[in-house]
């Protein structure tokens, strides 16, 4: 929060102040005033506590020091009230003369200066306070400083109506940090536990290096290392680069194992848009030698070179428990961006639309969602070629559909890769006529819809912890379109073979993830679907 040593259009600090008109005040009191009024202000107060030392710095040498604490408090409060009165009546004009950066030994100046651009257009005191707050938050968001202190001082005496902004940063003394957490990765469709090591500001460009090891509930393991650059050669948005080695085991579901080694570049990212490029060498193998025909045909090596564009518009009040607002996410992925026709060529489009309606009683809300996705190969003879197995849509998993925003992911009550087109696995014993199981092949077209009514429980203890109940219903389907199957496709067939489930449950939000304890009743499922009516536990983290 900003420190205000003096109001710029008053007499400078060194001159003898008029005790009636001067309004010097120390920063912590302003902050306390502001903080009282603004609950959503995320500012840390520990920085302001440091400023107590600066108490009275701007006061003139003749200012009488009050004897008691309360008297001092009352006098400071009076001064601030008068300033606030002036600020309430109209803009108190001021402009920035200079921005001084102190305290950075390693970090390059231009990194910090890039975050202070918003100060240049300030015209009044009110704007200055707001802008200072924004700059403070931005600098803290770089994660490379232990503390950020912004001080406003009056400009040079020959230029009235100006202010200097002094930014003092304390670079982090412990650049290496470790973290263990639980996440939900949309691609993995399941919860992951991830341990990561982060090294901050190795080269002084605000660069964040991290290495992480993640293990997923669905037997996936990923080893990756990445770098985050807030300012790379004048690009507006931060750039991230990540090299990864990923191994996913789908043997029990689809009889194949996937191993990827690649590089992922985050080219552009802001609040609504994100563009990433992915280059990977992917290998599908079947060590169990039990796969079905379609999976056997896809085993081997592939080069994946794809560009993904995501548009996200989230106006809900919360992603863990949305009670009001709407959200829309659309993501488009184009593979085959090398002139080599031998790389994987596909086009994948997903969208997700959510709407939350508050109902007024018991903090209840109705959540609606509809999502869909389609994947198709392109290039010569695309209508007869199958789509690439890992790019297809597989629905099912132990995450909650309410939290998984981004595309069709799962339905309540269905296990990982639990429904969709199947094919019998290899028959092992010649005498045994029973098939040994099926492979879930995923589909090229997937649709899901959900409706969820969440409400508080009438017990105060539950309300305080944020634990609430919900009643839900969902439906979805996955179907194949490639290899000329689109000729047999019809919306009627799709609707007729929709799987659906309803249920009721308890939602327990914790700081790491959102847990649901549900009872699901499967309304409609087909022969080989892996779904059961009964108790289910889901874990989701905020996307």
């Amino acid at each position: 929060m900003s420190n205000l040593d003096s109001v710029p259009d008053l007499t400078p600090p060194n001159s003898k102040p008029d005790p009636e008109h001067q309004t010097p005040f120390s920063t912590n009191e302003i902050d306390e005033e502001d903080d009282d009024g603004d609950d959503e202000n995320d500012v840390e107060d520990d920085e302001e506590d440091e400023d107590e030392d600066e108490n009275g710095v701007s006061g003139g040498p003749n200012r009488p020091k009050p004897h008691s604490r309360e008297a001092r408090f009352r006098s400071e409060k009076l001064k601030m009230d008068s300033l606030l009165q002036r600020m309430k009546t109209g803009p108190v004009s001021v402009r920035i003369h200079d921005v001084i950066i102190k305290g950075n030994t390693k970090t390059k100046d231009h990194i910090i200066e890039a975050e202070t651009e918003v100060l240049n257009n300030v015209g009044s005191m009110q704007e200055l306070l707001k802008a200072s707050q924004i700059v403070n938050l931005r600098l803290q968001a770089l994660e490379i400083f232990d503390s950020v202190k912004i001080t406003l001082d009056s400009g040079p005496p020959e230029l009235p109506g100006t202010a200097n902004v002094i930014i003092e940063v304390v670079e982090t003394t412990r650049p290496l940090s470790g973290q263990i957490g639980a996440y939900t990765k949309a691609e993995a469709r399941s919860s992951t536990v991830e341990g990561s090591l982060k090294y901050k500001n190795l080269f002084g460009y605000g660069d964040l290096w991290d290495g992480s090891l993640a293990y997923g509930y669905d037997h996936s393991a990923e080893l990756s290392a990445g770098v985050f650059l807030p300012r790379f050669k004048g690009l507006v948005t931060p750039v991230t680069a990540r090299a990864y080695l990923l191994s996913q085991d789908w043997l029990t579901f689809s009889s194949y194992k996937e191993r990827s080694m690649g590089l992922s570049l985050g080219l552009f990212s802001n609040q609504h848009h994100e563009v990433t490029y992915n280059l990977a060498w992917r290998t599908l193998t079947d060590p169990s030698q039990m796969s079905s025909r379609s999976v056997r045909r896809q085993l081997g090596h592939n080069l994946l070179s794809s560009l993904k564009y995501t548009f996200k518009f989230d106006r809900r009040n919360s992603s863990m428990r949305p009670t009001r607002g709407y959200a829309f996410v659309s993501s488009t992925q184009l593979g085959g961006l090398v002139p080599d026709s031998r790389s994987l060529r596909f086009l994948r489009q997903e969208f997700d639309l959510r709407y939350a309606v508050p109902l007024g009683f018991y903090h209840a809300a109705l959540n609606f969602g509809v999502s869909g996705g389609v994947v198709f190969p392109w290039g010569n003879g695309f209508s007869s070629k199958p789509s690439s197995l890992p790019e297809r849509f597989f629905l099912g998993g132990n995450i909650s559909p309410v939290c998984a925003l981004g595309g069709p992911t799962t339905l309540w009550g269905f296990k990982t890769r639990g429904f969709g087109p199947t094919e019998p696995k290899r028959r092992v014993n010649n005498e045994n006529a029973n098939p040994s199981g099926v492979d879930f092949l995923g589909g090229d077209l997937a649709v899901t819809a959900l409706a969820d009514l969440s409400f508080d429980l009438p017990f105060r203890w539950f309300r305080e912890k944020g634990i609430h109940a919900h009643v839900f219903a969902c439906a979805g389907n996955v179907t194949k379109l490639t290899e000329f199957e689109y000729r047999n496709f019809s919306v009627q067939k799709l609707v007729e073979s929709l799987r659906s489930s309803v249920g009721v449950g308890l939602v327990v939000p914790t700081s790491l993830f959102r847990m649901e304890i549900n009872y699901c009743y499967i309304l409609k499922k087909f022969n080989h679907d892996r779904a059961k009516t009964g108790a289910w536990l889901t874990f989701s983290s905020a996307t």
Binding site: W281, L299, H301, N302, L303, P421, P424, R426
Partner: protein
Amino acid sequence: MEQAGERESEEFTLVARKPYFDLPTACPACLPLFIYLKLAHFPFRLSFNSIFPDSDQIPYVESGTYVAYNNENGGVIERLKQDGIVDLDSEFHSVPDWVAMKAMISSWLADAMMYELWVGSDGKSACKIYYSDLSWPIGKVLFLKQVYSVKQRLGITKGNAEQREDEIYKRAKIAYGALSTRLGDQNFLFDDRPSSLDATFLGHVLVTLHALPETSVLRSKLLGHNNIIRYAEKLKMELIESSSSSSGPQIHSVPSSSTPKRGPSNWSSKPKSKPKREKTEEEKKFKRRAKYFLAAQLLAVLLFLSVMGGSDADDMELDDEDEGLVYG
């Protein structure tokens, strides 16, 4: 979509590596199986997997939910015998000569083929057979991995490389001699009836003749036995070329690049010992001469322009001025 049909009612499909060099499948592990099924007049469809060069599961035979992989039960041929699907060797198992020759082909000739494909030649043939449908970086890395693995398997180190090479070629020569003697003038190796021995040997011979480069030492050793060449060409014509129309439509057939047809009339038994070096020297000479020629041409043009171009330029300017002025 479930296919719960009986095994017999489903067609059998052989999944092999891609065709190249005028062969239905150019991989030395896949071609013997193809020939075996053809020798047995067993109906099957041919399908290709060209993105998994380092898999030991390929080639495999499948029908509905039944699959016979090459890395199980001693190979696809053995598995098909065990399952009673195809068996050409029922009377040969007890013949010691047959068993010995089988062992010789599976060890000495297989080693020689592996060596020649990956280490002995420049690897171009292997790249064409195995990596032509993979993106370049992946193909390159897999090739290097495979070369390393072959050297490990054959026990080749920097110190004993020449020695091992001599040993491998010597054994191949002995094997060829023995097989040539065994074959004589017959149509097949044993009892004038086809067996898996013929399939394995024929596969090796066809790959050696068609896929390996002309500078290959192994190929030159094979060319010394005319009866083997004759035997191979005859069976190739019978099994592969004449029945190519009846084998049915090929699924996933990859468009094979046009390779020059190398028939028996094009072969010579004398190996071109160092044709590469001569070629490059010739090429260098030709390039040098071409450069001189071009340089001379350019020089002539420049000379012409500078010497004659002065007056020409004046004429040109005068001509331009002529438009405005009239000379008397």
